[in-house]
């Protein structure tokens, strides 16, 4: 029987239909993957399962019983735990305290330290994750913190585990150990709902995969019955055009640092594990920002939250780095700014196409295009990009790749860091591999496949 199931669930936000009669379930001991483009309704569905939002119509049943969650706490109490992308850990507390957060064992008014450590240890043991129980959680890597939040769910006897993009910030090795954890929990009978943009992963670990589009489940396939291309076709409702390879011959050097040099017309990839120094190298090349921009350099940072003013309009975000050109206390030419914004919205296919729309209302992929648009508006010659396609859907990712190629073909230089080896190998003329803050190897196109890059950064 289904552990958790949705029947005909609908949800509207104003005029937008987020969910339009969704049937979906996860049974015990199963990994059911949920895929779809941004805005397809995946997030809304898992928020309803997790008690964050309530459905307008339809039913949610847990073990066959009708439920109405009034809060995330109610869903959690019913054994449904959601592990978000932004992990909920309290930095000031220890590993053990974070595992047992919300139900610290007590003896009288005081926390029972012995039972706290014992029960937290048991939960981590179930995951076969060895962590120092007394260590402050701030000392942990992202993957370890993720394990802490999963252990927290287990300590509360979660029988449904919802994982939202769990591998987005993990290195390949860490992905493997997460998959082992998932495998163990599946064997124990936990129902796992797995949301991800990484279709290769889903083909590997999912027992079942459902595809959402425009608020509906448009396809449901069993393990072995689907390949990645099928998923993409269902997500988009059409075929994805293959990317074209138009390798321009690289021109003069436009940016030189001790680590590398960037040439006009070339895309350079930056490979490295988390903490290997790729992000800090990009920041260093872009420091201080005001001077770097004057020299024609633009940075697309790893966290979109760090690059956009969410409450402000698409137009204001696009012209932000170009303000200097208008003269600080001169009258700003609104019509010129509007024209620049409209032109780039059209060129980059940013949706919705309204320059006055608040940027926070756009999907992740479209927000990323806005970040790109602002550097095109500022007419930079060098683009530094940190994980430019992380967490965005397949179609938007293909568009970003095309824009990077076009930028290079137009005489620009691109340096982009990515944890996705395939993306690096496909786009780059040359890949600079980093390890512990240093350049470990430089690989030319044609002489590097995913395996070579993996070896260079390990």
């Amino acid at each position: 029987m289904a552990r958790i199931a949705a029947f005909g669930v609908g949800k509207r936000f104003g005029a937008t239909v987020a969910l339009d009669g969704v049937d979906f379930d996860v049974t015990a001991g199963e990994v059911h993957a949920l895929v779809g483009e941004n805005g397809a309704g995946k997030s809304t569905l898992i928020r309803i399962f997790g008690g964050v939002q309530r459905a307008d119509r339809g039913e949610i049943r847990v073990d066959g019983r009708l439920v109405h969650f009034r809060s995330p706490a109610a869903a959690f109490a019913a054994g449904i735990a959601t592990i978000q992308q932004e992990l909920r850990v309290v930095p000031a507390l220890s590993v053990a305290e974070n595992v047992m957060l919300g139900h610290l064992p007590s003896r009288g008014p005081a926390v029972d330290e012995r039972r706290l450590r014992q029960r937290a240890g048991e939960a981590l043991e179930r995951l076969r994750v060895a962590l120092d129980l007394d260590a402050p959680v701030t000392q942990l890597t992202f993957a370890e913190r993720q394990a802490v939040t999963i252990a927290r769910a287990l300590s509360r006897d979660a029988r449904v585990l919802i994982l939202d993009e769990p591998t987005a910030a993990l290195e390949e090795r860490e992905v493997e150990s997460l998959f082992q954890v998932i495998g163990r929990l599946r064997a124990e009978g936990v129902a796992i709902l797995y949301v991800s943009h990484r279709l290769e992963e889903i083909a590997r670990i999912a027992d079942r995969c459902s595809v959402m589009r425009d608020g509906r489940v448009v396809a449901e396939m069993r393990r072995g019955a689907f390949v990645v291309d099928d998923l993409v076709r269902h997500m988009l409702g059409r075929e994805l055009e293959p990317a074209s390879h138009a390798a321009a011959s690289p021109g003069e050097v436009v940016l030189r640092s001790p680590e590398l040099e960037l040439r006009r017309g070339a895309i350079t990839g930056l490979a490295g594990l988390l903490g290997s120094g790729t992000s800090s190298l990009l920041r260093r090349l872009f420091s201080p920002p005001a001077r770097a921009i004057r020299k024609g350099i633009g940075l697309v940072p790893g966290e979109r939250a760090a690059s956009l003013v969410q409450g402000h309009s698409v137009r204001d975000n696009i012209v932000l780095p170009s303000l200097r050109r208008f003269g600080w206390f001169a009258r700003m030419d609104d019509r010129a700014a509007d024209a620049v914004a409209r032109e780039l919205i059209a060129a980059l296919d940013i949706r919705p196409g309204d320059p006055n729309a608040p940027v926070g209302s756009l999907s992740g992929g479209n927000q990323q295009k806005v970040v790109l648009a602002r550097w095109l508006a500022a007419r930079v010659g060098v683009l530094l990009m940190d994980e430019p396609t992380q967490g965005i859907d397949v179609a938007a990712k293909a568009q970003i790749h095309r824009l990077m190629r076009e930028f290079a073909a137009g005489g620009g230089a691109v340096l982009f860091a990515s944890s996705e080896l395939r993306e690096l190998v496909e786009l780059s003329e040359r890949i600079v591999a980093m390890r512990r803050g240093h350049v470990a190897a430089t690989l030319e196109r044609g002489r590097c496949g995913e395996r070579e890059v993996r070896e260079a950064i390990a």
């Binding site: 005029a15 939250a305 760090a306 003013v309 402000h312 932000l320």
Partner: protein, 311 residues
């Protein structure tokens, strides 16, 4: 969605109109030329302070020192005026205000001290400095300020007090600065997301510091206006002005975390505060109850700010 936003944006004005209508029903004295003129004059000084506060809050900061700065600017302006004439006096008052603002800006951006604590410190420090400077007496102790300066606090132009023209002109000029210049956009962007603004090449440290200088200088202008109205510099002047100004900014619908808000709505917020106080006075409400009412209004406005951003 959009229509809702437009309606929410007009809440400050609607509040003011409802408040005004209520007061004119409850008291026959409210809607008289004399009383309305009083409301305008009472609003004038605090409006100037609140406009400066809007700059600081838009950029994501906070300024508690403006009340003390009003007093300091008034006393310094009066003292200099006795020696060197009106123009020098006014200039000195505004300059000393800008200097306090620059000090705040330096501590907040270079030493990276929390704005609340920084300006709490300067609030106390400046108030102490005023009492030292004036020897705890009004300035000047004997004699009187130049007649032209005193006339400015009493006389009218086109039927409206000169004092009221000051915020009118400032509102027009500063709205232009905030709304129409790239500098203004940079202030909004810095308050909206400082990291994003910094990575877009905006020198966010300078932008933040500059808003404190605006706030200080405008508190200086307000101090000079108040000295003209009181016909002296008073070391005790401007008490609680910082609270009224912050309340006005919040009532005007600006976001306390920065990046959202309009200057003219702050002025509407000032009017809400002044009309409330004026109306309760006319209705002979005990002054202690008035404080309770004002406190409730401030909390209600801040709660509305939270609700609006949770949507």
């Amino acid at each position: 969605m959009k229509r809702v936003d437009v309606l929410v944006g007009q809440i400050p004005l609607a509040t003011l109109l409802v408040l005004g209508a209520t007061m004119s029903v409850l008291s026959e004295h409210f809607l008289t030329p004399l009383n309305l003129s009083n409301v305008l004059v009472q609003s004038a000084v605090i409006s100037v302070v609140a406009m400066g506060m809007t700059f600081v809050i838009l950029a994501g900061g906070f300024d508690l020192s403006v009340g003390s700065t009003v007093a300091l600017a008034g006393c310094v302006a009066a003292a200099v005026m006795m020696q060197a004439g009106i123009v020098a006096g006014v200039g000195a008052g505004v300059a000393i205000g800008a200097l306090v603002g620059a000090l705040n800006g330096f501590v907040v951006t270079v030493l990276r001290v929390n704005p609340f604590i920084t300006t709490l410190g300067t609030m106390v420090l400046v108030r102490g400095a005023v009492f030292l400077f004036s020897d705890s007496q009004q300035v000047p102790i004997e004699g009187s300020l130049p007649q032209g300066f005193i006339d400015f606090g009493v006389e009218r132009f086109l039927g409206i007090h000169w004092l009221v023209w000051v915020p009118v002109v400032l509102l027009a000029a500063l709205s232009w600065v905030l709304g129409k210049t790239p500098y203004g956009r940079a202030v909004y962007a810095t308050g909206g997301n400082r990291e994003a603004a910094y990575l877009s090449g905006i020198r966010t440290g300078w932008i933040v510091a500059s808003t404190y200088v605006w706030s200080g200088a405008l508190a200086g202008v307000a101090g000079v206006m108040l000295a003209s109205r009181l016909q002296s510099g008073q070391p005790t002047a401007g008490e609680f002005y910082e609270l009224t100004a912050i309340a006005a900014v919040v009532l005007g619908g600006a976001a306390l975390h920065g990046g959202e808000g309009r200057l003219y709505k702050t002025v509407i917020g000032v009017f809400i505060m002044v009309v409330l106080g004026n109306g309760l006075n006319l209705l002979n409400v005990d002054s202690h109850w008035q404080r309770v009412a004002v406190g409730l209004v401030i909390i209600a406005a801040a709660a509305a700010d939270q609700l609006r951003h949770r949507r």
